[in-house]
Subunit: 452 residues, 2 copies
Amino acid sequence: MQQLSVPKGTRDFLPSEMAKRNYIFNTIRQVYELYGFVPIETPAMENLSTLLGKYGDEGDKLLFRILNSGNYLSDIRPEELNPHNAYGLSGRICEKGLRYDLTVPFARFVVMHKNDLSFPFRRYQIQPVWRADRPQKGRYREFYQCDADIIGSDSLLNEFELLQIIDEVFSRLNLRVIIKINHRKILTGMAEMAGCAAMINDLTTAIDKLDKTSLQQVKEELTTKGFSADAIATLESFLAIKGTPAEVLQSLTHLFSSSETGQQGIRELSTLFTYLNTMPLQSRAELDITLARGLHYYTGTILEVKSAEVQIGSIGGGGRYDNLTGIFGLPGVSGVGISFGADRIYDVLTQLGKFPAFVEEKIKVMFVNFGPAEEKAILPLAMGLRQRNIPCLIYPDQAKIKKQMAYASGLQIPYVAIIGEEELKNHLVTLKKMDTGEQTQMSQEQFLQMNF
Amino acid sequence: MQQLSVPKGTRDFLPSEMAKRNYIFNTIRQVYELYGFVPIETPAMENLSTLLGKYGDEGDKLLFRILNSGNYLSDIRPEELNPHNAYGLSGRICEKGLRYDLTVPFARFVVMHKNDLSFPFRRYQIQPVWRADRPQKGRYREFYQCDADIIGSDSLLNEFELLQIIDEVFSRLNLRVIIKINHRKILTGMAEMAGCAAMINDLTTAIDKLDKTSLQQVKEELTTKGFSADAIATLESFLAIKGTPAEVLQSLTHLFSSSETGQQGIRELSTLFTYLNTMPLQSRAELDITLARGLHYYTGTILEVKSAEVQIGSIGGGGRYDNLTGIFGLPGVSGVGISFGADRIYDVLTQLGKFPAFVEEKIKVMFVNFGPAEEKAILPLAMGLRQRNIPCLIYPDQAKIKKQMAYASGLQIPYVAIIGEEELKNHLVTLKKMDTGEQTQMSQEQFLQMNF
């Protein structure tokens, strides 16, 4: 027999996994829709000209490229067909690639369809993305992203509503989380006050590691990157500020006296925390001025969601960016977005045993099959349940009863309906509750009224 | 500005298209689940060893191949790097391809996971597939398939339930359809009685064109393929049989006197039509012994769904196959499946104007934004609606009222809630019904009880 496999880093999803994954996706989708977001989809393939140069050199290497159809070598000069020209040649024999995230396709979408969209545009998108990363535990080459963005509005109400969405999603999933909040302009303020404004990207990259490594290691990284001892000391004093959000923002107002950018960050976070005081979340939302997030396109508020129950990386995050569509020639479109890490949320729910039982219990009743005469009686009963939107199935073959019952157990079907010779004669149904084994006989009319 | 596009044959879906597409997908999904089918998903990419040789030479050419990551040329000998070796080289520089349909990945899935599945296994799968076909009207390079199959059971109850599913899906979509039914063994019976059993594939390929071309042209194709005049005359007499299903099957019983295979086909269709007589469908289900369906892996019942209202190709179909997983070394797994053509169903619904209004009307209420004080009053009202699962949105910016109203109209939001200075002072809400322009003032408590 041929040895079968799926490509490394990709997965099949069995029905029980699908049920749990759909529970997560549906929860996210429902909350997005409750807040007035509408769905879009983009093709799995994009032109490489759309994708290249948007994710840095590393990202470009991680794109899956699709070989041109037909004779993809017909326009290639012999000297290009050279084992040392693999990268250059790939640009000539592949025009398309699989999407790497949902953000760049969304930016392209907005520019292409701007005349068909109403701004502020609130879209959500739940689709797979592909990355030729080295597969490892919890990291896949095909995985779903669940993004929501509002573009074309500067209002901080958007940030607040995205926090409400995060809060509502995790509350519906029965997970306790901590939402960390910061602002890129506060990081810029720190950099300006420490005299290292030009090195802001190195600074955020280093600070971003604070929750994984020690302060000492971050300081060493900053030294290696060329930050002066004075600058590092100033930065350290900022990062050490403690207190309530209001207190911390108050301290920063004084310390950022000469950073207009820093002051703007403080004003915006003050507004955001005023929303949070007026309409408190169920989750803990905290100001964390050490939060940096690696992605350099963020320019305003940044968010990150951590589980309060399980030690795992972030399970959601987001932020505001000033110029999403600028890369495609449409400048000045500001937006703010969030994303949920569905695979990690799956792992957290599994680890805590918090998937509700109903998630896997879709089929409510199985009808045992004793042969054609009984089947004839069963068909209208199955139809009756289905008309009431109760999922059920008829065992299709006249197999041994033991085999049929084992099948129902295997599928976690809670009820089995038995119509044998006696039931057939007297128009009865025997209903077996599978978890207790309890059996009840009833008329067919009663059966059709049952709540399962 | 960079000229933006999506790869040819692929599409973006705007929110209004998504709403309509999801209406179709959700209807299909709900009915599949009502009949006890459970979802699975497989990766977009499969190993080319899984895909190649399963769709004929033509199909192999239509596979999208994914260039190997890293230096894909490192193991290639210089003589292989030859413009005349494009096809051979593609097999060396690409190990993976995008799935071409859901059937072959499903067969692979069943073989790989057979120990984790309960048989008979009823699965549905709704995912995109990719084909490097020449794009044309109504044919895309990326499109969704919506398949359901039952494998590991020979019972004709499965065929009947699949007919019930087709019937229920189109009934919920408010579309009138004709379901044509035939049996591959009846076609084999015809071929055997006409003395051309060895040419059954040529026969089905030719007969399959009967609904698009004339009988004369089909006869010419058969002549070209080497069928004798006698054989063609016999076949023609079979195809001319008319009557109720029972009458046609009766006639064939006599005509197929010496074809055991033909007799088996007749017996199976008789059983299926007995089910249909006992539990009639809402749709017209008819025996059509000229129905052939092109796919050669069908071995039993075959089905095809046509719109009764619009001239368009088939909008669904299916059939029984004896040996789905044999290609992967697991013989003897019989199954039967159906598939819905979502893109064509979309076109039919559009043409007939049969998408219900609620499909695009997801957001029920928009709150006009007059500034921070009003916003503070709006936030608990929006939360109140959301707690009742009523989707709503707050216009995020303090824009001109005209602009805000136009935004609500553009998004087809049926109600706009206005809280201005006066409403704020008196704890009121003015609710405007957008289609009539009618305005009603009410207390905030009344507003929170409203049904939208």
